[in-house]
């Protein structure tokens, strides 16, 4: 049984300009100890998808119109608020993109971490303090006793993201959802944080759902990749098969359009591959494949009927008429 099984998830946002279909029929599953990367450009629905797992999207205007999210045999979408809160932060945790704004500026680091222990493990103040200092050590924050009393603004971006990881991993969750955890950080700090996240999740047997726009990070950390475009999954597969043999024209374009280190020294300067056009607006109603208007291989059928997911081999699937 997979740890997490998302079936046919659809999320809409009802705005004044009409319904934005942010996520349209997304299905995937994640095994124990697996690391899956979800990649895609801004507005592709990757963030909304993972936030829906813990129902952290604002409702209204958001609305999960369809689907089922099974976690450990329970449908998260059918749980009452109290049960759901019991899962948030203890079985499933989240880390966000902006370490500068994801911690409350008026409470100490210690206060914000120990809250998790108090809520989920019913610890009293002293025990929660001890556990907090322990987890601060685990995320390699120097002099944790002193940091316990400090406020977020006294810490650097990298340190704050370590605090976020401490909060997320405090209860040794089964699943960690990391939404662009290193995008706002400097390069050398990004390497530190990724390393720490992988090391601790390995130690705690935690699976990771990693959302990023950086294909390099996915290639280096995940075992499986989900590529999203305009609210839909267009290709999934193991990291090696996706990066070596991408099928979907969008995935191919995405990989080719990225400048790669070493290429210029080796082969000289060539213009980067371009995907023409822009991402479609999500309140449009496109009947066929949403990528067709930008696709250089689009056929008549692409503009009429949406392609179905097709398995190329056991762990590689693609939604494209070229392979149907």
């Amino acid at each position: 049984m997979p740890l997490l099984d998302v079936k046919n998830l659809s999320v809409n946002f009802n705005t004044l300009e009409g319904t934005v279909r942010a996520v349209q029929g997304v299905s995937f599953s994640l095994k124990k100890r697996e690391i899956i990367g979800i990649v895609g450009e801004s507005g592709c629905g990757k963030s909304v998808t993972v936030r829906s797992i813990l129902r952290l999207i604002p409702m209204p205007p958001g609305e999960i119109s369809e689907g089922r999210i099974m976690f450990n045999g329970e449908n998260l979408l059918a749980l009452d608020q109290k049960r759901l809160r019991g899962i948030r932060g203890s079985n499933i945790s989240m880390i966000f993109q902006e370490p500068m704004t994801s911690l409350n500026p008026v409470f100490t680091i210690g206060n914000q971490i120990s809250e998790t222990f108090k809520v989920h493990q019913k610890m009293n103040k002293q025990r929660a303090r001890k556990a907090t200092i322990n987890i601060l050590e685990k995320v390699s924050i120097p002099s944790p006793e002193k940091r316990f009393e400090e406020y977020p603004h006294q810490l650097s971006g990298g340190m704050r993201q370590r605090v976020m990881i401490a909060i997320a991993l405090a209860c040794q969750p089964k699943l960690l959802i990391a939404d662009e955890p290193t995008t706002a950080l400097d390069m050398t700090v990004q390497a530190q944080i990724l390393d720490l996240m992988l090391q601790l999740s390995d130690q705690f047997d935690t699976s990771i759902l990693l959302i990023t726009h950086d294909l390099g990070i996915v290639a280096q950390t995940a075992s499986k990749v989900i590529v999203m475009y305009a609210g839909k999954i267009i290709e999934t597969g193991s990291v090696s098969s996706i990066f070596k043999h991408p099928f979907h024209p969008y995935t191919i374009g995405l990989i080719k359009s990225l400048p790669r280190m070493g290429l210029r020294s080796q082969y000289g300067k060539k213009p980067l591959h371009e995907i023409p056009g822009i991402v479609p607006s999500m309140n449009e109603n496109i009947s066929g494949c949403w990528f067709a208007p930008r696709c250089d291989q689009s056929m008549d059928i692409c503009r009429k009927v949406a392609p179905l997911q097709k398995y190329i081999d056991s762990d590689h699937s693609v939604s494209c008429w070229l392979f149907n």
């Binding site: 932060g89 966000f96 911690l103 409350n104 500026p105 008026v106 809520v119 989920h120 406020y151 909060i167």
Partner: protein, 314 residues
């Protein structure tokens, strides 16, 4: 934090100095001569000149100002020309009434505004929120003295047992005191609460959209803790600043409401003094109330610094 407070204090002293100049010269620009008023139309020129001299009114304005300031620094606001008693004593004896009125009004306003503001923010765009918006506009646009008049009519017609004629001190007779002050405080508080509701609502809506609220929810905290602890702590620092600024409106509102309800506060003292051209009293009351306003805002600034660690520890 220490330098923060010192800097605020120095600023307050400077503002007070500027204020004293404005108050002094503004008072002396009130048309009409006090001595003329006191002695009546039949007074001889010589009598007027003599009285002016005895009050020191014959000296140039800047000399008068200088003397006034010199006395002020010694805690002497001069003597009332009408009552013959020291201005400061008169103010001190009247101030508890105004203070009680203002504090009660502010307390009432907060008591009304916070729950309503929170509900509006949490359920924003709900029917309750939509209903409250025009209601708060009405609250904002109707002046407090109008509420005062309405309240007097309502109380005297329907609840005559609550209608009192004679004001009594807080420590003399608490029940009568409250009966006298409460309607006035309600009249003042209604307008104030409308302002604060809007502020609590917009501030909380903004805070609820921040990342740290999502973090709090993702931690598994209940909505009560998320809003009650994480959101409200940030909103209350915002609201604190508006309380300081609204103190001005409250003080000026108190003047009118005191008159309408016949409360013997500083506001009425000031108004009577203006009517009688009692310069020292006008200067004294205006300066006192302005200092009170500055003091409250200084307090707010310091409190803000204490509540917001980004200012406290920089």
């Amino acid at each position: 934090m220490y330098t923060f407070i010192v800097r605020r204090l120095l600023l307050a002293v400077f503002v007070l100095f500027c204020l004293s100049i404005i108050v002094f010269f503004a008072v002396h620009m009130i048309p009409g001569d006090m001595v003329q008023v006191m002695l009546g139309p039949a007074a001889t020129k010589e009598a007027i000149a003599a009285l002016r001299k005895s009050f020191g009114l014959n000296q140039p304005l800047y000399v008068q100002y200088f003397l006034w300031i010199l006395n002020l620094l010694q805690g002497n606001l001069g003597e009332s020309l009408r009552m013959g008693a020291p201005v400061l004593d008169a103010i001190i004896s009247r101030f508890p009434v105004t203070l009680e009125l203002i504090l009660l009004a502010m307390g009432l306003a907060l008591l009304i505004a916070f729950p309503i503001g929170i509900i509006c923010a949490v359920k924003h765009n709900s029917w309750f929120d939509h209903l409250l918006r025009p209601v708060s506009v009405i609250g904002l646009s109707v002046p407090d003295f109008w509420w005062a008049v309405i309240l007097i009519i309502v109380i005297s017609t329907y609840f005559p047992q609550f209608y009192i004629v004679e004001y009594m001190g807080f420590f003399d007779n608490f029940a009568v005191n409250l009966k006298a002050i409460l309607p006035a405080a309600i009249a003042l508080g209604i307008t104030m609460s409308a302002v604060i509701i809007r502020f609590v609502r917009s501030s909380l809506i903004e805070v609820l959209q921040t990342d740290y609220i999502t973090t709090a929810r993702a931690k598994g905290l209940s909505e009560t803790v998320t809003i009650g602890k994480h959101a409200l702590r940030n909103t209350s620092t915002d609201v604190l600043t508006i309380i300081g600024l609204q103190m001005g409106a409250l003080i000026s509102g108190a003047v009118l409401v005191e008159v309408v309800f016949g409360l013997p506060g500083v506001g009425r003292l000031a108004l009577d003094a203006v009517r009688q051209r009692d310069y020292p009293m006008v200067q004294g009351t205006v300066l006192f109330m302005a200092s009170f306003f500055i003091f409250i805002n200084l307090l707010v600034d310091i409190l803000y610094g204490i509540l917001d660690p980004r200012i406290r520890i920089s």
